[in-house]
């Protein structure tokens, strides 16, 4: 295994609605023997709301600089939006020769040399730890039908992403290793959930998320697996609101990627925060053998 120690950027939802993602990420890396060093005093990445790219670069340069000073060369985050912002900041450092000095001029805390690679958790698991290593460590099988939902930034834009922009498959590979069956879902895998419009155009966001859940249901999925707290918020926490709006029953469990992987690695469901998902995950837990 190539990695043994990583800077960990939890992102803001890790402390509130995505607490189970934070718990399961930590549990999985602990089980794999990889040390996560939380970025000291990290700040918000700007999410989708910081419209000024220079603002995004400054906010993320501060976090990357903290990891750089701690001599860490790779930062992992479990949020796709945070990943996108960290990755485009690094890209800007490569392409814009003046950026380093502009950032330093804001505050010495933003002195960053561009040496910290930003990676998504799924990328680290599949491409750094590797499928062979994961295969060796699997203790339990999870024979369920899964709709793998990737959302936007794992593959798009492709100059920053680590997976195919239209038909990503990194999570599929892990699900198959775990004994799960990936349902045909390629048309929905990377189609936006509407998350950024949740507060301002919830009518649109609800429809977009409902379409994703409907497609999973129609193809017989037992659960959806996702790896982004914003997608998870739409598909899981808001699922009862979507049901109420459209007067339908969906009852589709939505697990974080690290939760289903953790189950396969033999980690206790409580440690993975599975009791914190809004839609009950009991039916999935019961199928673990």
């Amino acid at each position: 295994m190539a990695v043994s120690k990583l800077a960990y950027y939890p992102g803001c939802p890790s402390e509130t609605h995505a607490i189970e993602q934070d718990m399961s990420t930590k549990a999985v890396f602990e089980k794999l023997g990889i040390e996560l060093v939380e970025v000291e005093d990290w700040n918000c990445c700007g999410a989708a709301e910081a419209e000024n790219p220079e603002m995004v670069y400054a906010l993320n340069a501060r976090n990357l600089a903290i990891a750089e000073r701690d001599n860490l060369d790779m930062m992992v985050t479990s949020c796709s939006v945070c990943f996108y912002n960290l990755a485009r900041t690094n890209e800007a450092y490569e392409k814009d020769a003046g950026l380093k000095d502009r950032m330093k001029a804001i505050d010495p805390a933003l002195e960053y040399n561009g040496s910290v690679k930003a990676k998504h958790v799924v990328d680290v698991i599949v491409n750094e730890v590797g499928l062979d290593e994961i295969k060796k460590r699997i203790e339990k099988k999870i024979p369920v039908k899964v709709a793998p939902y990737y959302g936007c930034y794992m593959g798009r834009p492709s100059r920053l992403g680590f997976d195919d922009p239209d038909n990503p498959e990194t999570m599929d590979k892990i699900i198959e290793l775990l004994g799960g069956e990936v349902i045909p879902y390629s048309q929905m895998k990377a189609k936006c959930c509407g998350g950024p419009l949740m507060m301002t155009r919830s009518d649109l966001a609800f429809k977009m998320s409902k379409n994703l859940i409907d497609a999973a249901k129609a193809r017989g999925a037992d659960c959806i697996v996702t790896a982004c707290p914003l997608c998870h918020m739409m598909l899981d926490a808001k699922q009862p609101d979507i049901e109420e709006t459209f007067k339908v029953k969906l009852e589709m469990p939505v697990l974080y990627f690290t939760q289903i992987l953790g189950l396969g690695l033999g980690i206790d469901p409580k440690k993975l925060g599975l009791n914190k998902n809004i839609v009950s995950t009991k039916a999935i837990e019961e199928k673990v053998i």
Binding site: A47, P53, C192
Partner: protein, 198 residues
């Protein structure tokens, strides 16, 4: 709608091109790939990114900046990924929104919709605490989007009471989340806001 040629602002495209993210606008050759694959257009056909670009190139500044459509993009990057001319439409919409906010602050145009209010409220939390404070964000957003504290709190309760209870029951919204999770060196983040602006 007939175009009033005498009202066109031929410099608008240059203004957009000068903004970070807007650089690619002149490269657009109107093929519509962005619009055909857009998940928003699929549900709301009035959202037509190709048309917004063409209107901008023509100089229909006021119509573009006062349209509701510029606030509908979910920044999913599908259009940017598929664009044969590398226009980076998602980023371009962001540049147009920033011009709209600036012009609105100067009293030159009126913004449609509430997303600008939401984004501002989000950035205010970040500026104050260094991290997202969801309750602070919701209170500020609802108050401003619904024209006052009382109306805002009523609307917020309607939209979020059930979600809040769900979180509370699952231990995702304990007493700790009632208060902002402030970073230690907020001064460093405040400096970013002072020097970069929003």
């Amino acid at each position: 709608m007939a175009i009033k040629t005498w009202e066109l602002d031929s410099n608008f495209k240059n203004e957009i091109a000068a903004m970070p993210g807007g650089e690619g606008i002149m490269k657009c050759f109107q093929c519509s790939t962005c619009t055909v694959g857009c998940p928003i257009t699929e549900l709301e056909p009035s959202y037509n990114p190709r048309k917004i670009i063409q209107m901008s190139l023509l100089g229909m500044k006021k119509e573009v900046l006062e349209s509701e459509e510029i606030w509908l993009c979910a920044v999913c990057q599908t259009c940017s990924e598929r664009c044969p001319q590398d226009v980076r439409i998602s980023d371009l919409m962001g540049a147009i929104r920033r011009i709209a906010e600036k012009e609105a602050e100067e009293g030159k145009i009126e913004l449609k919709g509430v997303r600008a209010i939401f984004e501002k409220a989000f950035m205010h939390q970040l500026e104050k605490f260094g991290r997202m404070y969801e309750i602070g964000l919701s209170m500020e957003y609802y108050k401003k989007a619904h024209g006052g504290f009382f109306a805002g709190m009523m609307a917020m309760q309607k939209d979020y009471q059930k979600l809040g209870m769900r979180f509370f029951k699952k231990g995702k919204m304990g007493p700790k989340s009632m208060f902002p999770d402030k970073i230690k060196r907020t001064g460093e983040v405040k400096k970013i806001f002072e020097k970069v602006g929003e």
